[in-house]
Symmetry: C2
């Protein structure tokens, strides 16, 4: 299947929360997101990688509107003993960039080109989350414009066109 | 925006590779996925969470067809010194489950309900990756059917309908 890269979307309106050291047992992700739901906080991207072998704990990160960062962090802090996580950190200075398209799953060359472009531009990648129709990364807010330009160039995209983002 | 949950997709044809302890400097994700692209391996979901504060290193996980697991692992092992990662692990016994819909970003109640359903069914969540149109998790392969039934029930979905998955 030929990949179709339709554009680049970027967002600097978000912050990131990382809940460190969540016990890797059923129900813990549920506890975290129940606290979030009860606080009426809107969440965008959730990322959890595999647990640390040495600790049996996982980190759960998510992005959200910067304006809701404090509220979400305080709600989770209040539930820290109950959930049993080790720490929580809020970083308001992030930028999110997504390469949007289709059929990207069967095209490792697309992600390689995307990550190469960011490397060449000196952009450090903090988080990665992908689907068949988009590759999303989180980087520092002050590197976002550099990253967007680099990816536009690498894929010969018109820098004035912003991708309509659905995924 | 009202969330629309259209269905559940599941996949047991994949394995998971985790590259542990990747140095958190620009270009490392590029190196990993260049090795993968050169090996002609197809990748589905990529997940990278924030670096470990103590080590300054990140773990990068991705899913791929089980049939390509060995090839991908060996290609990365051969590049271990160059990339500088600490370890690599292949787990062929995973199941992927996705809740598919729309407008899920502004609905923390949807993810809470999803994670609650998995908790009630005793399903442990190994990885999480979400977008506006889907919430995907990785669990053990032998828990996948249990997980699918639980999520169908929680969202009153017809267990015979499989979501058409685009995201
Ligand atoms: C860490 C967290 O995802 C846990 N494994 C759970 O299932 O809730
Ligand atoms: C860990 C890896 O993603 C690294 N931060 C990079 O930018 O390539």
């Amino acid at each position: 299947e030929q990949p179709i890269v339709s554009g680049v979307a970027h967002d600097r309106s978000e912050g990131k929360i990382t809940v460190y050291g969540v016990p890797d047992v059923p129900g813990k992700a549920a506890e975290v997101f129940n606290v979030i739901a009860s606080a009426n906080v809107n969440i965008d991207m959730i990322v959890q990688n595999v647990p640390r072998v040495e600790t049996g704990r996982s980190d759960i990160s998510f992005t959200l509107p910067i304006t809701e960062g404090k509220q979400a962090t305080e709600a989770l802090r209040a539930a820290q003993d109950e959930i049993g996580f080790e720490d929580i950190l809020l970083n308001p200075h992030i930028g999110k960039l997504s390469l949007v398209g289709g059929g990207m799953r069967s095209n490792p060359g697309v992600s390689a080109r995307f990550f190469d472009a960011l490397h060449q531009a000196g952009v450090n990648i903090d988080m990665i989350s992908t689907s068949e129709i988009r590759i999303s990364i989180i980087t520092r807010e002050d590197m976002l414009d550099t990253a967007v330009r680099a990816v536009h160039q690498a894929f010969n995209l018109d820098a004035d066109e912003e991708a309509t983002v659905y995924g």
